[in-house]
């Protein structure tokens, strides 16, 4: 019987010819990623279980990226970074992107591909639920807790239950007012926040394959918001060109077998999809930007692993250029590389930084997760009161961006930018 991409990657990493949904197998891990929020706990368990002098199973395969609570005065947060730094030194880990140095990156899920750690056909685990973002590179990538991560640190293996695969096909290139964010919010609205629990979500069709690598990352990034175990996209020239520009390490891509079996196949015509929002307080509370027109806003936020990549800012800049924002607008580049891109990328003779400054937006001086998940009270852009915010981030749970009385609408960078100009939720077609 044929296998899906996900089944094939897992089978290969378990040293088996075949793996079927429901099989419990131990897989070899290619990359383990951790950050400042879950790294210290993981390290604590690793030391407790393997002993104070234990070494990680393979130092080339452990990637440590501080990114969550960086630009804060919270002393506990600083101590967590000290814990990472000491561990990396003790273990002599080559892939550590330290705060306050030229190596500092920012948001781990964007930093991983920039640094060449995401490769087709591999298995990546990370102590963060949005690790699924890397499925855009045709690999198996998922989030785990500290205990599982500590086990991997010691033995380089983890047990996995092979998931069934749900396939989502998009027909037709995206109309100029849509982004991958609209597609994934549309899907989550269809299947619900637990619609893909325990399953892989595979995205395909010419609509998906016409997307840039950054947009593919947005699609895979939010599979966790439907409960999905991993997202995955077939490997093509777009994937390989990107990966080869970042790493010389060999990799073995996989493809679906012609007779692969799927849990379900859903087909969409991209032209039928509208600029989409998720209303408070759940990513599946779907509406269109048009339906929500008139909803007054206190804040607009553009950033995070979901919506803080260079293409996200380029999209926002297209709309903001020559306009003034009516609502407080926060710009947070995901990584230092994205931040450099904001300063150097030109649109009609202006850099993106100039466009945002001229529009009256506030630009973060540091790349990090910032207010996507609230964080310490002094976090840039955090919702500390009952604000109504439209955001390019991934979750709008109660209290996610700070106060439990705040309300968050999730949308694409186009929709967020258009809404920032009007001070109320606005369909981006009014500006495009």
């Amino acid at each position: 019987m044929g296998m899906t991409m996900t089944e094939k990657v897992l089978a290969r990493h378990a040293g088996r010819k075949h793996a079927a949904p429901g099989d419990n197998i131990w897989v070899d891990v290619d990359i383990l990623m951790t950050h400042d929020v879950c790294g210290p706990g993981t390290i604590g368990i690793f030391r407790k279980q393997f002993g104070p002098t234990a070494r990680v199973w393979d130092k080339e395969k452990v990637v440590v990226i501080p990114d969550h609570y960086i630009f804060t005065n919270d002393q506990h947060a600083h101590r967590n970074i000290d814990v990472l730094r000491a561990f990396v030194k003790e273990q002599d880990l080559p892939y550590y992107y330290d705060v306050g140095t030229d190596k500092y990156k920012g948001v781990c899920h964007i930093a991983l591909p920039e640094e060449g750690h995401t490769r087709p056909g591999e298995v990546l685990f990370g102590t963060d639920s949005h690790t699924c973002t890397a499925g855009a590179f045709g690999e198996f990538a998922t989030g785990i807790g500290n205990t599982d991560a500590a086990l991997i640190m010691g033995i380089g293996k983890l047990w996995v239950k092979v998931p069934e695969t749900m396939r989502f096909e998009f027909e037709g290139p995206l109309p100029p007012y849509l982004m991958a964010k609209d597609l994934i919010l549309h899907i989550i609205g269809d299947i619900g926040v637990d619609g893909a629990t325990y399953r892989a979500m595979e995205f395909a069709g010419d609509g998906v394959m016409s997307l840039s690598i950054e947009e593919r990352m947005t699609l895979c990034n939010m599979v966790i918001e439907a409960g999905g175990k991993n997202g995955i996209i077939p490997v093509d020239a777009v994937t390989e060109t990107f990966v080869k520009s970042k790493t010389a390490k060999p990799y073995q891509p996989v493809a679906d077998d012609p007779d692969a079996r799927f849990h379900s196949v859903r087909r969409y015509k991209t032209a039928d999809i509208q600029p989409t929002v998720a209303k408070p307080h759940s990513p599946d509370n779907r509406g269109t930007a048009r339906e929500c027109k008139g909803t007054k806003l206190d804040r607009a936020y553009i950033g995070s692993c979901t919506g803080g990549k260079l293409n996200d800012f380029l999209a926002a800049a297209k709309i903001l250029k020559g306009h003034q924002v009516k609502t407080d607008t926060y710009i947070v580049p995901a990584t230092t590389e994205v931040a450099k891109g904001l300063a150097t990328t030109m649109l009609d003779g202006q850099t993106l930084v100039e466009i945002f400054q001229n529009a009256g937006a506030k630009i973060s001086q540091g790349a990090s997760c910032a207010a996507c998940l609230g964080g310490p009270s002094d976090t840039f852009g955090r919702l500390n009161r009952s604000e109504v915010c439209i955001s390019t981030t991934n979750r709008n749970f109660p209290g996610r961006m700070g106060s439990k009385t705040a309300q968050v609408y999730l949308a694409s960078p186009y929709t967020v930018a258009a809404s920032a100009i009007r001070g109320e939720i606005t369909d981006p077609r009014e500006f495009l």
Binding site: G44, R79, S129, G145, T147, I155, G374, G399
Partner: protein, 187 residues
């Protein structure tokens, strides 16, 4: 693994995500320091909106102010319990507050896995929806061999789904003990 788990119920609704279980601003405390880790107990479930905290009435604190132990040991949830982030601090905070079992209609995958692999408590799935059947403060008794949950306050008994594949990990006491049994780790 004990056969009988007794405790008082704390009832929540659907989609209790990990930001509600332990808000992100608290994810900075040490889990290794015996005193500091108590702060996770103090703030366990503190992100649940007041009206939804302790159903059916709501406005019931899970942990009394300035304490780190909850008077409730069994949490009853609806669908998709533990959705959102992979923070293991979520099941661990509940354990530090004294939770010995969660009984929900369904779970988000990573939270379920973390509860089992970390050996924090047993995440049971109920055969039927218990939100609305059980009230916060009711006396509950879980019988593992029988696979039942009895509400001693109302006298009603409900079925629990078999633990299935994860039973062996739960019996072992977590994924490390399980991996030792499987021969991946020296004991």
């Amino acid at each position: 693994m004990q056969d009988i788990i007794k405790g008082k119920a704390y009832v929540l609704g659907d989609n209790i995500d990990t930001d509600q279980i332990i808000p992100a601003k608290h994810l900075v405390y040490s889990l290794s320091d015996p005193e500091e880790r108590k702060l996770y107990g103090r703030y366990a479930l503190s992100g649940v909106p007041d009206a939804a905290a302790g159903l059916p009435k709501g406005n019931v604190r899970f942990v009394p102010e300035n304490d780190h132990r909850s008077p409730f040991q069994i949490v009853i949830g609806g669908k998709n319990f533990g959705s959102g982030s992979s923070r293991e601090h979520a099941p661990e905070a509940m354990q530090i507050a004294g939770v010995t079992a969660v009984v929900a209609e369904s779970y988000a995958r990573i939270f379920y896995r973390n509860s089992v692999d970390g050996g924090f408590f047993i995440p049971f799935e109920a055969v039927q929806r218990l939100v609305g059947e059980i009230a916060t403060g009711d006396d509950l008794e879980i019988d593992l061999p029988k696979g039942t949950l009895t509400n001693r306050t109302s006298g009603k008994t409900y079925g629990l789904r078999p633990l299935g594949d994860v039973l062996e990990i739960i019996k072992a006491g977590g994924v490390f003990a399980y991996a030792r049994q499987a021969g991946f780790l020296k004991s």
